[in-house]
């Protein structure tokens, strides 16, 4: 399985699909970093991200810093169990990153913004 980033319905949404590790970090970093400079509120849908390693977490933390330095925020949505496990082991939630663990509404993520 590989990794890809899928555009969401707005510039502030990206969907991460596959496994984010050292092998896919370069691709991921380029687009997440660019996007985190373009918007103030970035939502990353992690419901189809099946694995993340420390190089992936590092990309998320950089985006978090880029956004919060400008008064914005990063929201990580619907992490899968293995990804949430890494977040827990690193105490990510304690850093101020918003992790929305509510189950994803069915229909493939096109729900607007309730």
């Amino acid at each position: 399985m590989s990794f890809e980033i899928v555009e969401g319905d707005t510039p502030g949404r990206l969907r991460l699909v596959g496994e984010l590790d050292l092998g896919s970090a370069e691709t991921a970093e380029a687009s997440i970093e660019r996007r985190s400079r373009e918007v103030l509120r970035l939502k990353l849908d992690l419901s189809e991200l099946s694995f993340i390693d420390s190089s992936g977490v590092r990309i998320l933390l950089r985006a978090f810093k880029e956004l919060t330095d400008r008064g914005g925020m990063l929201v990580l949505e619907h992490p899968t169990e293995p990804v949430q496990r890494v977040f827990d082991l690193l105490g990510l939630a304690a850093n101020g990153i918003v992790i929305n663990t509510s189950p994803k509404a069915d229909g493939g993520g096109s729900e607007g913004g309730r």
């Binding site: 590790d21 092998g23 390693d53 977490v57 590092r58 933390l61 950089r62 890494v86 082991l89």
Partner: protein, 130 residues
């Protein structure tokens, strides 16, 4: 069953390392530990790829009763990665993740005179919920 596999020390090999561990863990009923095993082995191999200068990594799976020992061996020189907060902001979390996910972590460091770093990871079996 003890099994070892060799992998080129390239970032795109990490997914194959994890596939190997997934296969062994499933066969030897360590499935309940799988998430933690994948996290730790992936970090150990990523460190070898990034920091040791090795060309190859050997991953060995050794189940012993209720525990499994996984070793990652390279032929490189161990360079402890020191994070530079000003550049990085967050540091390297690989070793932290290994420690948090495993019951035991030991690193035998390869030196210039005697290259070859071995990372030993030990995990006790979690009983599968019935």
């Amino acid at each position: 069953m003890i099994e070892e596999q060799r992998f080129p020390a390239e970032p795109d090999q990490l997914v194959h390392v994890r596939n190997f561990i997934t296969r062994r863990a499933t066969a030897d009923s360590f499935s309940a530990n799988l998430m933690d095993l994948l996290i730790a082995v992936s970090e150990a191999c990523a460190n070898a790829i990034l920091h040791s200068g090795t060309r190859e990594m050997v991953v060995r799976w050794t189940p012993e009763g209720d525990t499994v020992q996984i070793t990652v061996e390279d032929q490189g020189v161990f360079r402890p990665n020191i994070s530079v907060p000003e550049l990085d902001g967050i540091g390297h979390r690989g070793i932290q993740l290994m420690l948090a996910s495993m019951d035991e972590v030991a690193i035998r460091q390869g030196t210039r005179e005697r290259p070859g770093t071995t990372v030993k990871l030990v995990k006790r079996k979690i009983r599968q919920p019935a």
